[in-house]
């Protein structure tokens, strides 16, 4: 039964590749009314769900060995990355849960009304996301997990900007992807340190080798992975991406808000041995988790839109899961993760029904707690100015640095090395008179011009004014210098150099 595991992420991937081919090559299946793409997507995801359930059942019955290796994916020196999957325990059950939820999303997509660009791109995104998240969950090594990790972020971008005519959605997609990219950086560094110190990237190997690492090394690995976990599970200060998922269309937002952040907690559970050994990352995890829970709770209370409230509620619950893990309640965090993902996904899919009910009964009034204090209420409405904080501390300095460097590049470096536009006239025809191939510019150009001026003076003084007494004196001095140079040039290296310069000039 272990071999089944490979088909679970592979089937949605093949469906995504097939549908992408139809779009790029203009094959049938790309018309808005064509149900072929929906059938392919649904079929692949339902089959993957069925296989995942079968694998989970086999795991419960003790029919699986625990892992399955497809073969080597990449090998370089001591780096040997194999495509390994886990076929027992939490990964399998979580994969079954996610596969079922994604099959429901595919069914929902097939039935919903999506005008504009047709459903095929959405089906592609859905299948690719399913493949990525199932790969992430089932992989037995850090690189397989990283593949799923990065691909889910890319799919999040695609699913958010699916309706590409909405600029707000594309801005949200960018924010989501860039935050995830920051998390990727942490994951990459964590995996790199793991390889540098243990020469193996299997999760099981890392757990078994922890005793060989110093506490500083374990802490470093833990801190790097912590960055990835916090970014993916929308913990402070990375919480800004989660509310932005609601800009995407249904069911994409259900997938992104209800499933994707839980993969961060899943990574935390995978790294349980590391966090048990590393005190500093664990304390940080607890503090950030608690802070996010408080932040999500208060900010969520101030929201009037159901989708926004739900997004903040998810962030708060994820914070609680981090706190649970930090306090050592790993089993509780695992159960919390599975139950929470299912409930939130269901809530998101039912949002239209909920919205209709709210339209009939009227919006929920603000609860008394945040409104009791005006300042607290303003802070909650503003999301505790988290966006502004990120903007001031991270985005703005980078933008200013980028601006300064671009100015430096254009006005200093480009001028020094010669700007083709340095004879800048308003009329470009005047700047490049016919018959010339541009003008020399920049520091090299100015040096060349100066050298030419000196030689011109020399030529004028000696060649054009005739050979007078001073000319003969100059000639003697020049002859003396030339003799000196000749003696130098008689050295074998310089002789060879001159010979070959001459030869090359002749070419």
């Amino acid at each position: 039964m272990d071999a089944l595991v490979i088909l679970i992420p592979l089937l949605p991937l093949l469906a995504a590749l097939w549908l992408t081919g139809t779009v790029l090559c203009g094959l049938p299946g790309n018309t808005p009314n064509n149900t072929l793409s929906a059938d392919i997507s649904k079929g692949a995801l339902m089959l993957a769900a069925f296989l995942a359930i079968a694998l989970a059942a086999a795991s419960l019955l003790g029919k699986n060995t625990g892992s399955f290796s497809v073969g080597q994916w990449l090998g370089s020196d001591t780096l040997n990355i194999r495509i390994n999957y886990q076929s027992n325990g939490l990964p399998v059950f979580l994969a079954a849960l996610f596969a079922v939820l994604l099959a429901m999303a595919a069914q929902f997509t097939a039935g919903c009304f999506l005008p504009a660009v047709g459903k095929t791109p959405l089906h592609i995104g859905l299948c690719l996301f399913a493949s990525a998240i199932l790969q992430l969950v089932l992989s037995a090594n850090a690189i397989g997990t990283l593949m799923g990790w990065q691909l889910t972020a890319f799919c999040a971008l695609g699913l958010t900007v699916y309706s590409h005519r909405c600029l707000a959605a594309s801005a949200s997609g960018l924010t989501i992807f860039l935050v995830q990219r920051t998390g990727d950086a942490g994951f990459l560094l964590g995996a790199g340190l793991t390889y540098a110190w243990t020469e193996n990237l299997n999760w099981a190997h890392l757990s078994s080798q922890l005793h060989t690492l110093s506490s500083g090394q374990v802490t470093s690995i833990g801190l790097c992975y912590l960055l990835a976990i916090l970014a993916q599970s929308a913990q402070l200060p990375f919480s800004i991406w989660l509310p932005r998922t609601i800009d995407s269309t249904l069911p994409a937002n259900a997938i992104l808000a209800a499933l994707m952040p839980h993969t961060g907690i899943y990574l935390l559970l995978l790294l349980q041995p590391v966090f048990e050994e590393a005190l500093l990352p664990r304390i940080l995890l607890g503090v950030v988790g608690f802070s996010t829970a408080v932040y999500g709770y208060f900010t969520g209370l101030a929201q009037t839109a159901a989708r926004n409230a739900l997004a903040y509620a998810i962030a708060a619950q994820l914070g609680i899961m981090c706190l649970e893990a930090s306090l050592g309640f790993w089993q509780l965090a695992a159960w919390h993760l599975c139950a929470h993902a299912a409930v939130r996904f269901w809530q998101f899919l039912n949002l239209p029904v909920l919205q209709a009910a709210l339209d009939e009964t009227g919006a929920r009034p603000h609860t008394s707690r945040p409104t009791a204090s005006r300042r607290l209420f303003v802070a909650c409405l503003q999301g505790f100015w988290l966006d502004l904080f990120i903007g001031w501390t991270l985005i703005r300095p980078i933008r200013r640095l980028s601006h300064d460097l671009a100015f430096f590049d254009r006005h200093i470096v480009d001028q020094l090395t010669g700007n083709p536009q340095h004879r800048l006239y308003l009329n470009p025809v005047l700047a490049q008179p016919a018959g010339t191939l541009g003008n020399s510019g920049g520091l090299p150009g100015k040096l060349t011009n100066s050298a030419a001026a000196v030689l011109q003076w020399f030529d004028k003084q000696l060649a054009l004014r005739g050979v007078g007494k001073s000319g003969i004196d100059y000639g003697r001095k020049l002859g003396f210098i030339a003799n000196k140079i000749e003696r130098l040039l008689l050295g074998p290296r310089y002789l060879a150099l001159v010979v070959f310069i001459t030869l090359l000039v002749a070419f």
């Binding site: 080597q72 780096l79 990065q150 890319f154 560094l189 540098a196 590049d409 074998p492």
Partner: protein, 517 residues
């Protein structure tokens, strides 16, 4: 070395050159572009044949050919292939074929000269990759200049193309000077070491120079010269501005080739590191710092660009910096990552530049302010742009992912600070690529012409389809390329650790690729 009777490598150099000469006599119904297409397609097939003839288990030079030219000075045409060069050749051939096909209708004036120069450029680029003689290397290197200069100066699409051509020509010429000095110093060292008549004991061939011990003091003089020459043309900061100028002003074919043909980084790998191994190890930190600065600087400046073409030029500079970081790691992972990254970037950046050319041909601009909302009118073009952007970002499933992974792991083993720089560069890459993607492709169409713009034509689709398949194939099966470079990479690294090349008394060889954590 293994020798064969059939000379495929010299044919790889000569075929485009002969075709370039034949374009002068081309007449309808076989116009110059048909001749160019046939020659470049044949060149690609030949390069693929060479790839299959190559034995990856052998780390030495293969398919070696040697033709004397100036026997008194020991100068001759020597061609050969090792695991480092073997992948660059078919990729370069593919690149030129793509540019010929992509610009099928774009050359309206002097087509014979245009295609003749393009073929000459291909011939010289092949010469750079295949030659095993330093003087020939310089010869081929310098002879890439006339076609680049004339193509930019005569067919440039920017307002300042003549100035850009001049800048490009002068920069590349100036870069050859330190290289010439360095090669002559190495040849003279060979004469010194062999102690005979100067002209009789000079050597310019790479195998002979690699077998000659070079005193450490000389290595410390030669390595900076080689590094300077290659850094100017790679380009590394602060010598990079010629690339952005040329990319903005040159025709799309030349801009694509300038971005895609990584001749200088190949030169660093083959000449700078191999001929002066002790200095290369000693000053690997300089390489690393140069690479890091280039990566971060170019990425940050790219964020401010408003033109797709200029942004791609800075992306090219940034990726060169990333590859240099991999090389400076001085381990197999870093080197293989750098080679894979260069090949990956050749494919992805070239295709992005070609797509930019398609946009420019339709809408007359590649400035973001003139574009916007292209996804609605051109979904297939947008799809390909997104795909190649994903390749450039190193997304899993594309060739960029294994390349960046290897490179970062290699850097992590050698210098963790370099790995952190590389990872920061990857984040910045997303930060400048995606906002440009948003401005150009997403949102409502800003101009009526955009809504009427035609999506990819079948010819353009064919141009992009093959590299797309290649990028995905290498992403799923990176072992196909890594197996080809494995032995050569190990031999390359082994050379850096061979004590015979550290002949200075009392000189302690620095650590190579060791974890310093």
């Amino acid at each position: 070395m293994t020798a064969i009777n059939f000379p495929p490598l010299s044919l790889l150099v000569l075929l485009p050159l002969v075709a370039a000469l034949l374009t002068a006599f081309s007449r309808p119904p076989l116009p110059a572009k048909m001749l160019a297409l046939a020659a470049t397609a044949l060149e690609l097939l030949l390069s693929i044949w060479v790839l299959f003839r190559f034995d990856p288990g052998n780390s030495r030079f293969q398919l070696v050919e040697h033709y004397p030219w100036m026997p008194d000075l020991q100068i001759g045409f020597m061609f050969g292939l090792d695991g480092i060069a073997v992948l660059f050749v078919p990729v370069a051939a593919l690149l030129v074929l793509m540019t010929v096909l992509a610009g099928w209708h774009s050359v309206q004036t002097r087509p014979k000269l245009y295609y003749g120069l393009l073929l000459m450029l291909e011939s010289m680029a092949m010469g750079v990759y295949l030659t095993l003689d330093t003087i020939n290397f310089l010869l081929f290197w310098e002879l890439t200049l006339p076609p680049l200069f004339l193509l930019t100066g005569l067919w440039g699409i920017g307002a300042w193309h003549r100035g850009a051509a001049m800048k490009l020509g002068l920069t590349l010429l100036a870069a050859a000077i330190p290289l010439l000095f360095a090669f002559v110093m190495l040849a003279a060292n060979h004469a010194d070491q062999n102690g005979g008549d100067l002209t009789a004991t000079l050597a310019f061939t790479l195998p002979a120079l690699m077998e000659t011990p070079v005193p450490y003091s000389l290595q410390t003089q030669v390595f900076p010269l080689l590094l300077l020459g290659f850094a100017v043309t790679a380009p590394l900061v602060p010598f990079h501005t010629w690339l952005s100028s040329a990319t903005m002003e040159a025709p799309i074919a030349v801009a694509t080739l300038l971005l895609g043909l990584k001749l200088s980084v190949f030169g660093i790998l083959r000449y700078a590191m191999q001929l002066t191994p002790a200095a290369a190890v000693e000053y690997s930190w300089v390489l690393g710092i140069l690479g890091g600065i280039t990566l971060i600087y170019a990425s940050l400046v790219a964020m401010q660009q408003t033109s797709l073409r200029r942004m791609l030029a800075y992306a090219g500079t940034g990726h060169t910096g990333l590859a240099i970081i991999g090389i400076s790691a001085l381990n197999v992972q870093g080197l293989q990552g750098a080679i894979l990254l260069l090949l990956n970037f050749t494919v992805s950046a070239s295709c992005l530049m070609l797509i930019t050319g398609f946009i420019h041909a339709r809408l007359g601009s590649s400035e973001a302010v003139h574009l916007g909302g292209l996804a609605g009118a051109m979904p297939r073009l947008t799809g390909f742009f997104l795909l190649f952007t994903a390749v450039g970002l190193g997304m899993p499933g594309t060739s960029g992912f294994p390349a960046e992974l290897l490179l970062i792991f290699g850097a992590m083993i050698a210098h963790p600070s370099l790995a952190i720089t590389a990872v920061a560069g990857l984040v910045f890459t997303a930060a400048y690529t995606l906002p440009m993607l948003r401005r150009v492709f997403w949102g409502p169409a800003r101009h009526p012409a955009i809504t009427r713009a035609q999506d990819l034509k079948p010819r353009e689709l064919a141009v992009l389809a093959l590299p797309a398949v290649l990028a995905l194939w290498l992403g799923f099966f990176p072992g196909t390329t890594l197996n080809l470079t494995k032995n050569a990479a190990e031999a390359w690294l082994n050379r850096l650790t061979t004590p015979a090349f550290f002949s200075a008394p009392g000189h302690t060889r620095p650590a190579v690729g060791q974890a310093k954590l």
